[in-house]
């Protein structure tokens, strides 16, 4: 009985503990610098809990289901309009926050959040291809790496199962526009992907270690993630497909039903500080969209090919729009056909 009472009082204590300042962040896995969180906790006294997700859809589905207890979420650009139209985000007006002047003007009037009324830039990057050059030394600036793989790489390719990115790359490979519903092109895309898949090893997330240990030699991957692979295994290089590659940005938004609204806003303002934005990039190795953060970043990021897009390939990048539901349904069908 005594034990029971003790347990109950511990519970009661932790319940009052919830009255103290807390912040629950729901972010992509392996994406948040622990040092950033330590600094935030030290400066504000707010205790942070981080929960991981592995795809935009997982995050959207979980939050929509309700009862999640999260305050902050970090959706990709294409998904922000969905989050807003579904009424899941609080209009926190980051554009009126103290540190907003640090945001690079390029990233203010963005199509997914005109004038930044909801979201703050977290990181931006590209989806291209990663290749282990020890096994293949040909041209890597092409989606043919996974759509029509060279003999050397067959059976060692991994494609991240991010439907939007992969469909985007494949559509551009066949000369279409992202979100197209042109059946001619989509048929090519489906047949092309189904044929290419025979040379793939897997469709999985969490690749840094598998590339570094050479379980996987090539595949569709993100630039910062490839950067981290290269730091672990210097043979790995990042390619920007000249047929078109995907540019994306993940932004920090506050949920409408956040339990810790003020703390969440504090966090949004906190990460617009150049020194803090640099911490974000230092860990995940993507650029962040905050001017002045460069000088706090590690030296090796200033010259890295993964971060600095070669001049001749700069205009080949495309921001994916949000596809309409009918087109999305078509893409899901192709995606299921691909994974059957």
């Amino acid at each position: 009985m005594k034990k029971l009472f003790a347990a109950a009082s511990v519970l009661a204590l932790s319940a009052t503990g919830a009255m103290a300042q807390e912040l629950n962040i729901y972010n992509w896995g392996n994406y948040t610098n622990p040092k950033l969180i330590e600094k935030f906790e030290a400066e504000t006294g707010i205790k942070v809990t981080i929960t991981d997700y592995d795809s935009n859809d997982t995050a959207l589905a979980k939050v929509k289901a309700g009862g999640h207890g999260f305050d902050i979420v970090v959706p990709s650009a294409t998904y922000v309009p969905i989050w807003v139209s579904e009424g899941l985000l609080e209009e926190t007006r980051p554009d009126e926050m103290e540190n907003f002047s640090n945001v690079d003007p390029v990233w203010i009037d963005v199509p997914w959040d005109e004038g930044r009324h909801y979201t703050v830039p977290w990181q931006w990057g590209t989806t291209g291809v990663a290749v282990n050059t020890k096994y293949y030394d040909g041209d890597i600036d092409t989606s043919a790496i996974f759509m029509d793989p060279p003999e050397e790489l067959k059976g060692k390719i991994n494609v991240v199962p991010e439907m939007g990115d992969v469909m985007g790359l494949a559509i551009m490979y066949y000369g279409g526009e992202p979100c197209t519903n042109d059946k001619e092109i989509l048929k090519q895309v489906r047949d092309g992907l189904v044929e290419a898949k025979k040379s793939w090893l897997g469709m999985d997330y969490g690749n840094i270690e598998k590339f570094a240990k050479e379980d996987v030699w090539a595949g569709v991957n993100w630039n910062g993630s490839t950067f981290r692979m290269r730091l672990a295994n210097e043979d790995i290089a990042y390619g920007y497909p000249k047929e078109g590659y995907v540019v994306w940005m993940d932004s920090v938004a506050v949920l409408k039903d956040a339990q810790n609204m003020e703390e969440a806003k504090t966090f949004q303002n906190f990460i617009m500080e150049p020194e803090n934005a640099a911490l974000i990039s230092e860990f995940a190795r993507y650029a962040n969209g905050i001017t002045g953060s460069e000088e706090f970043m590690p030296e090796d990021m200033k010259t890295a090919r993964e971060i600095n897009i070669p001049a001749e390939l700069k205009d080949k990048g495309t921001f994916l729009p949000t596809c309409d539901p009918d087109t999305q349904a078509l893409y899901t069908r192709i995606w299921t056909d691909l994974q059957k």
Binding site: L201, K213, D215, T332, W335
Partner: protein
Amino acid sequence: MSDMALNTPPEPGALELEEAQQDNRSRWLLALPAMVIIGCFATLPLLVMLVYAFLTPGDYGNVVWKFSTDGWVSVLLQRDIFDDTLMWADAHLSIFWRSLRLSLITTILTLIFGVPTAWFIATRPREKRQFWLFLVTVPFWTNLLVRTIAIQELIRSEGVINLILLKIGIIDEPIQMMFTDFAIGFGMTYVYLPLMVLPVYAAVDKLDFRLVEAAHDLYAGRWTAFRRVILPLIKPGIIAGSILVFIPCLGAYVTPRVLGGGKNLMFGNLIELQFGAGRNWPLGAALSLTLMAIVMVALIYYVRVTSREREDV
């Protein structure tokens, strides 16, 4: 049945009847908490699924409250994306077939490894059995995901198995084991093996070895004794074990995802796809219920078969 007729008790008196009623009532009361939990956490969610399966998918997940049977239809049929002809949903069917095949293989493998293990344990001296049984439960102490990732370390290209084989010189270059159906089968066999060992052990434990001796006395060889005497007696344990392994395999999610590389979907992953990127909850719900219906048919068949056997005895 004839036994029962002989032992029919005398007509109970009024007092006894009341006692029996009271007994009955307290039994119901005792069962109440379990029933409430099952009602709230198993039946209600199932009802929600059932309702959702008949609704229209929302644009970005969730459902719209409009009746539709599309979810059910697309479990089996689909319109071709390109020429609009109605045809079998061969993506769903081939994914289901893969799940079924891998589950069957896993069940057979756990039988091959599990039955001798259970036999070994059950034939140890009584005081040693506890120790062996305890060893069987050791894997349950660690989280499933952690164990699955540990298997990855074993079978990866630079993993333990490949390194040893390379050192001995049996192979010249690493064998690709990770991200194959072999990896999924290997992982699931490992994970579900205890679920086979335990029921079979219980059956062997109850086996009256005098019957085996009797068989030998009647000139049955080892094989005949096994086939005609032992196997029929431990069959309920084998069937129970097979069901315990087969059913969770059909819906397995973590092991195929981690070891299979996500390239070839299993049924559980297909359902997840509908609730996630696919944004088609009604189809997801219909697929789950279909899986449940199949499992239920298999279970009813099992109950029928075993109860018929009991009548035969």
